[in-house]
């Protein structure tokens, strides 16, 4: 948690976004926007995929929104915008987070890794990406970036997970196509276990 953002503010913002989600599934509550527009520092620096990005961020703005609408990084998907599906999963200091439920202001001074940052500059795919191709992991592909980021987070912490450990680690990522078995095959392959 960013020390500049108090727990109280964080919770209030989450509640505000939940209220909006419950009505018209908005990205922020209208009243909160009115209240905070121009009230705090908005031009902030973010560390995204190893690069410093200067971006104008509203106080209640979620990281998923910033990535997609401010930085044009549409690899991070919004499936539910309420922390249920994991399509928006990114790594923050190597830990998997739902970007739709993370306030952008809270990730200042932290390293954000998105699906766009997995591939090497020379074009080499991350082992998880390659394994997902080899195992035909994706079907429709909409959940794939989130699945990949959860798998990457797991392998950073546990390079040789059991299939059951992988199943638990990815359980926050819904795949409506039901490609779970293929994604798990991908994780096992990426970890050199198949």
């Amino acid at each position: 948690m960013n020390p500049n953002l108090s727990r109280r503010h964080f919770i209030k913002a989450v509640i505000a976004s939940s209220v909006a989600a419950a009505s018209h599934a908005g990205i922020q509550s209208a009243s909160a926007v009115e209240r905070h527009r121009g009230a705090v520092e908005r031009l902030i620096s973010l560390n995204i995929n190893g690069r410093t990005r200067r971006v104008d961020v509203l106080p209640q703005e979620t990281l998923a929104h910033t990535l997609r609408y401010k930085l044009g990084m549409t690899g991070t998907k919004i499936g539910c915008n309420r922390g249920e599906c994991g399509a928006c999963t990114v790594l923050i200091n190597d830990i998997a987070h739902y970007a739709c439920s993370t306030l952008t202001h809270s990730v200042r001074a932290r390293a954000v890794l998105t699906i766009e940052g997995l591939q090497s500059t020379d074009g080499t795919l991350h082992p998880v990406q390659q394994a997902f191709i080899d195992e035909l992991g994706p079907q429709c592909g909409f959940c794939t970036p989130g699945q990949a980021m959860s798998a990457v987070a797991l392998l950073k912490e546990n390079p040789k997970p059991s299939r059951e450990e992988a199943r638990q680690a990815l359980s926050g990522n819904i795949c409506r196509c039901g490609a779970y078995d293929h994604y798990l095959n991908g994780v096992m392959r990426a970890s050199g276990q198949s």
Partner: protein
Amino acid sequence: MTDYKHIGKDFVPPDILGKVTGKAKYAEDFRVDGMVFARLYTSPIAHGKVTHIDTSALDTMEGVIGVLTADDVPAVEAPNAAILTNSPAYIGDPILAVAAVDELTAEEAMTRIKVTIEALPFAVDPLDSLIEGGPDAREEGNIFVRSREGSGFRTVKWSQQQVDEFRAGKEPTGEFTDEWSYGDVEGGFANAEVIFEAPFVTTGYAHMSMEARTAMAYWQNGTCYVYGSAQSQSFWMPGLARLLGVEMSKVVLISENTGGGFGSKIGAYPIAALPGYFSKKLGRPVQLRITREQEYYIGSARVGFQGWIKMGFARNGRMTAADVFIIEDIGPNATGGDGSSAGGAVSLVYDPAAMRFRGLPVLTNTTPRGAQRGPGQNQIAAVMAPLMDRAARELHMDPLEIRKINAVNSDTTVYAEQLPVTSAYMTEALEKGADMFDWDTKYNQPRRNGNKVIGVGIGQGYHSAGTKGFDGLIRITPDGKIHLHSGIGNLGTYSYASTTRAAAEVLKCEWEDCVIHHGNTEANLPWSSYQAGSVSTFTHTRANYVAAMDAVDKMKAITAETLGGVADDYDIDGERVFNISSPAQGMTYAAVAARAIQLGGAYSGASYPDDIHEITQRAVQNIAGTGLIGVAKDKLAQEGVIPGLAAAFVEIELDLETGKYDILDYVGIAECGTVMHPQGLAGQMKGGAVWGMGMAGLERHVYDPQNGLPANVGYHQCGIPTYLDVPAVIRTSAVDLPDPQNPFGARGIGEPAMGCSVAALTSAISDALGGHTFGRTPVSRDMIVNHIAGKPQSFKPQQTNNF
């Protein structure tokens, strides 16, 4: 088995790289200059009439660009779905849209709009509407019948006694609107050794595709460019043009990637046309992003059933007669047909000697219904499996044996018309699955261990799996590239790509030299089938085959014309056309393509067959003169029903204290003719298995009967299966016997893959509970606990949508 170069081999579909890198663009990922963002205002009540809309507060609101109401779009006759409506018939029915410079502003604008709606009576359970004095979901009536003889509203009411008897599990005596039969049903029951009747309910539930149905559109020189979330590609075009009110030649659809559809995005749906109308009104590109809740509302749902079935069996286990009655919950837009499809599935999968089906489609004010993976076939598969077990038990038979005795085979005749099938090998599927699963051992194992009990079950799935008459289009260019034009959609099955391998097989070319064109009207795509109904594999291996054969014929003719002799003197291999008696004499595909351009006519696409669809004609016109064109309509012989079949075996461990069960083993066997793409087939079989697990125990609609409010609009509330709801390993295989009516023997599989799963699970749950049949999906934990405790369930018999 034929030694193919491409068929039956895995390959890397070209779109998968974008999916794993995040570069794949879905509708809401596109941005164009000047684009504005729209949001929907949807009905907060289940049924009503909009009497006033006040958007005056937006006149001075900074950032608001415009408003679109039902007055700005074509009116639609009830009960069909409109783009926007002033007569909302369910919570979530779109009433208006606001466009603004960003989503936040559009969202905020919603809070400043005042919409006055006069409430009307509503119904969320068909039986509540059917009972005398009950509310009608539409002012015009509570029934809508769609038929060739004429469609229309009806009002049908059953007496209190008739509803009570139906709830009590007795044969319905109320009015129905649909009926078909074959054989001597009464005689079949008279000759039966065992007869039983059973009521059933299969609750509807949301499709909940991962990608909500966002769309973006703009107009350029009179053409509307639509970036949509489309399950099909070319098949969308006529409907999309109709919705937009323009000629088909004035619409371009871009849908390279679609985040799931499962039947909910087969054809162009009304909301996909909203950005087109809004863009025309504003003169700017408009993107309408649909939220998760709105996707629940307008993203459609499976048809629910409330039914009754009577079955008779001879001493040897053969089903002598079946009598099926189904009340369909067809939502507010009268989108159903699942009931009759379910009856058809009974006739095919279990082959009763005689059968009758009766149906009644009832309107409700719940989310609109639509085809969902095995519409009808999969609901009835869930119902039938435990009943087949019951028959086996009463006849002292093994559940596997009674299924084999009634299994569909290549000589079976099906449906009311008793049509032939192209081929069917259900017995082989059952035997293969039983072997993989080790049925005999698992069926005869000790079942009880403390509060845990083992259950085993068998399921069978079916859906028709092919059609015919669509076009194929390929092109060989002077650089030697083989361009495979695929007009089917890309929703994750990879069949848009795997079916083009039929053309590559005919052309005997290297896959690396092939380029697939898909996902964009401007990629010059042929008229192709809907990407649904498990049809694409059968249908488009045929279409690609005929196009490639046309190309081969032309290449031989060109070579003969250039090098001498006649076409029959030549054959192809190694991307060369060569003289059979003197193989060194020949031309490369690249050289033939260059020559085709010189020769023109049909070779280069300057002319083309009269019988190809206008969409294909336009595609050929656009690529004419760029290479050798192979184009043809599929007129290959085809007769009878094309079945996609699957069998599944499952073992569960059920906790008698909590009602929770774990799936210990799952084996799914595909019977879809020749395997085209092993990895893709495994993906469909496993994904279908997960869907079946969701339907069997988790997914359902919940509507508040007092206010008509949906209580589960999110993923978890809907019960979408997660990693932890399904086994870590799902085993699959295939019978892999060719179908005679496809050049490569292939049929489809997507939907049976689910039907066999849900059936195997309802069978296994029943087995674990000593043969108790709930006659209901989903079988929730509280239902199991209540049953074990001998307590009544929390819902009335036959109640639906509200437990």
